[in-house]
């Protein structure tokens, strides 16, 4: 708290009555207590307004026009909700949504289960525990672009390590990029590799709140590792699971770099039949490749609304789960 010298003792200052000085000091104190917190958080909200709210609103405005790279002056053509009507009938949009959802489910469900199991194991007393705990985070701090490129090589048709192993054990080569299911699975593997450690750490943090006596009691009862996992770890993690599911859902809907890098030739179509084109890639293709600025803005807004819906559904679900326990 700031301390102010009484102004009467300072030489050369304008004379004020002690009562007025008292009042001013009280005002300052009041501002200090109730005002400064807002000042401290203001930078975040100013940044958020500039880089979050403004682009959101501007994109919304763009979606109502027919702005196209190749038509000079088209940014002023107002078409109302016409772009959204087109979106409903756009096969490629629904295809991208399906791809995104499928890759999301394949890449998130096994990942979160694995992360819980990792958290359960890392919660035990063992040698080099901190090293291992930090180690699981390593895949997450590597560059996405580099990871995408390396996995594209691992999943290569002719020279990829994974196909080499498959052919060693007598299974045929798989053209990972060409097939629909194949590419979904490959991308799910990349996501799982990258994010399992991150979620494991979040679960681990939540597990710190679980008293050791529970596990000790289970040990006395002769429970196995898996039984303890099911009966203690998972129930204790329930609120955290909801949190990580929401985060993963948002992350999945924005999935972009991995599938872009996975594509030989790096075109944003996501394979020759758009088999792994995600929503974000579709926005990118429409905006950058085809110069359909307004339509890309429309797809972005649709993505935003899908995220809001998904998070809302998650929230309702989590309330039901919480109230049922």
């Amino acid at each position: 708290m700031a301390v102010f010298a009484p102004s009467s003792v300072l030489p050369g200052r304008r004379k004020t009555t002690p009562a007025a000085a008292e009042r001013r000091s009280r005002l300052r104190h009041k501002f200090d207590v109730s005002g400064t917190p807002y000042l401290y958080i203001a930078p975040f909200f100013l940044m958020f307004a500039a880089f979050g709210v403004f682009p959101l609103l501007y994109t919304g405005w763009m979606a109502l026009t027919q702005w196209n790279r190749d038509i000079p002056g088209s940014e002023g053509t107002f078409v109302g909700l016409g772009n959204f009507a087109r979106l409903i009938n756009d096969d490629y949009f629904w295809n991208a949504l399906l791809n995104t959802a499928a890759i999301g489910v394949l890449g998130t469900v096994p990942q979160l289960l694995l992360a819980m199991w990792f958290a359960h194991l890392l919660n035990r007393k063992m040698r080099a525990r901190t090293l291992l705990r930090m180690g699981v985070l390593l895949p997450n701090i590597t560059s996405v672009a580099a990871v995408g490129l390396i996995f594209a090589q691992l999943f290569g048709r002719d020279l990829g390590l994974i196909n080499w192993v498959l052919s060693l054990v007598g299974l045929g080569k798989v053209d990972w990029q060409a097939g629909t299911w194949q590419s979904w699975v490959a991308l799910a593997v990349i996501l799982t590799w990258r994010w399992t450690g991150y979620n494991a750490l979040i679960y681990l943090a939540a597990l710190q709140a679980v008293p050791d006596d529970l596990y000790e009691a289970a040990d006395l009862d002769g429970a196995g590792q898996f039984q303890k996992f099911r009966s203690i770890t998972v129930p204790a993690l329930r609120p955290t699971i909801i949190f990580s599911v929401i985060l993963s859902t948002i992350g999945t809907i924005q999935l972009f770099t991995e599938p872009l890098m996975f594509n030989p030739g790096l075109s944003p179509t996501g394979g020759d039949s758009r088999q792994f084109q995600t929503l974000a890639m579709y926005v990118y293709e429409q905006f950058w490749t085809h110069g359909k600025y307004s339509y890309a803005a429309t797809v972005s807004w649709a993505m935003f609304m899908i995220i809001v819906l998904a998070v809302g559904a998650n929230y309702l679900l989590s309330r039901r789960i919480r109230s049922s326990t």
């Binding site: 790279r69 190749d70 901190t130």
Partner: protein, 422 residues
């Protein structure tokens, strides 16, 4: 203490990774009184020594070159022009992107105001950079030309002639190129295809048509122009005959294909000779170059432009004129292989007599200039750069057996409609 060690170790490890992850590109700042010209290009055009020469004859000018990848460079330029700031003083633009940037021709200086004469370049090259009002928004740097690079050793193993004039006589047109491919495949060594990818063959064919994807009224005519369908059908016939190595151009696998000898021919512009040499130096002497089926063609090549945003337009225009002058272009061709676009050099013995040792001393000067000189200029629309790859995807779908030709063509038309609607 023992338990703390892993922690310290991890912290160290994380710190190191963070450092590596945040490699910062330092930017030099100009000293007072010095004019700094920024040249933004998307591949090495071989200008470095020329900058020094220009700086020496123009005291007070400092030239900085930024090289970014092909896609990113053109996206950045588009964004910086839209945003109204951020472009360099000189921006290179690839021939395939020129029509798209011509829509914003008023955002570039007109080189005629700085004394440039469009007739200094091949007519079709200058035409590509000439706006509707006659403004010259780009100066021709290099062009691609087009030829057919082929593997002598693989031709010999398949019982085909290897001498370049006799090879060129095998394929006066694309039909006979595919027929020769069938002969080759019948006796080809194991795992060797006739060409790299169907989309590359398609591009070379459509390039020779009088009208491509867009007519002079800027209407996209992919669905109505028989030449596009014919080129598609030819490429599809070839891939269905098993002649394609199914390698996407510029992919890692494509690069590896040169080292492994996965295909016997590849349609190659002048700049690709350098790509092949760098990709597979061990194949030196096994390659040769013959005339492309149909005789003429061009793939790629770039322009230099000066955006009006530049604070030193006069100096930038002067530098662009210097870099694209015949004397410099000839030097670049002889030392680095980029084919010039300056009309005067097409009679220059130093250019015409150039040979390439990596390609069995093929007369690259004569072959590539011939292809570029006889090219019938094709009108380019702003969407052409987007349309080509979409048709290429259709050919790839047939190549991989995912679709039949008619189904693939239907989806091509749907993709093109999606790309060209506003």
């Amino acid at each position: 203490m023992l338990t703390r060690r892993p922690k310290a170790l991890t912290a160290l490890l994380l710190g190191c990774l963070a450092l590596v992850g945040s490699a910062v590109g330092a930017c030099g700042s100009a000293t007072p009184g010095e004019k700094r010209l920024v040249v933004e290009i998307f591949g090495d055009l071989g200008y470095r020594d020329l900058y020094t020469k220009f700086e020496q004859s123009h005291p007070g000018i400092k030239i900085v070159e930024h090289i970014v990848s092909y896609d990113d460079h053109h996206k950045n330029l588009q964004a910086h022009l839209l945003g109204g700031s951020g472009t360099g003083d000189i921006e290179a633009i690839d021939g395939g992107y020129m029509a798209q940037f011509k829509v914003m021709a008023d955002k570039f200086v007109d080189f005629r105001d700085y004394g440039a004469d469009p007739d200094q370049w091949l007519a079709w090259k200058s035409q590509q950079a000439t706006g509707a009002d006659g403004r010259l928004m780009g100066l021709g740097a290099d062009i691609g030309g087009l030829a057919m690079c082929y593997r002598r050793d693989l031709f010999e193993q398949a019982g085909l002639p290897t001498e370049r004039d006799r090879v060129a006589a095998l394929w006066p047109d694309w039909q006979s190129y595919i027929a020769t491919g069938k002969r080759f495949m019948a006796k080809a060594p194991k795992d060797v295809a006739w060409f790299d990818s169907g989309s590359n063959v398609f591009n070379a064919i459509i390039n020779q048509a009088p009208v491509g994807y867009t007519d002079r009224g800027n209407n996209v005519v992919v669905a109505d122009n028989p030449a596009v369908k014919q080129a598609f059908d030819l490429a599809v016939e070839a891939v269905q005959a098993g002649q394609s190595a199914k390698l996407a151009t510029f992919s890692q696998q494509w690069n590896a294909g040169f080292q492994r000898g996965s295909f016997a021919t590849v349609a190659c512009p002048a700049w690709m000779t350098e790509t092949i040499r760098q990709n597979a130096p061990q194949t030196s002497g096994k390659w040769d170059i013959a005339t492309v089926p149909g005789g003429s063609g061009n793939w790629g090549g770039s322009f230099l432009t000066v955006p009006k945003q530049s604070k030193h337009r006069k100096e930038a225009a002067e530098l662009a004129r210097f870099l694209t002058a015949p004397e410099q272009a000839s030097w670049i061709f002889r030392t680095q292989g980029h084919l010039p676009s300056q009309a005067a050099l097409y009679d220059d013995p130093a250019v015409l007599g150039n040979t390439n040792a990596f390609f069995n001393n093929a007369p690259t000067g004569r072959i590539f200039t011939e292809a570029a000189k006889t090219l019938r200029p094709q009108y380019q629309g702003p969407k052409d750069g987007d349309i080509g790859p979409l048709i290429g995807l259709g050919i790839t779908r047939v190549d991989k057996g995912k679709q039949g030709p008619s189904q693939a063509w239907r989806q091509v038309l749907k993709d093109v409609a999606n790309a060209t609607e506003p």
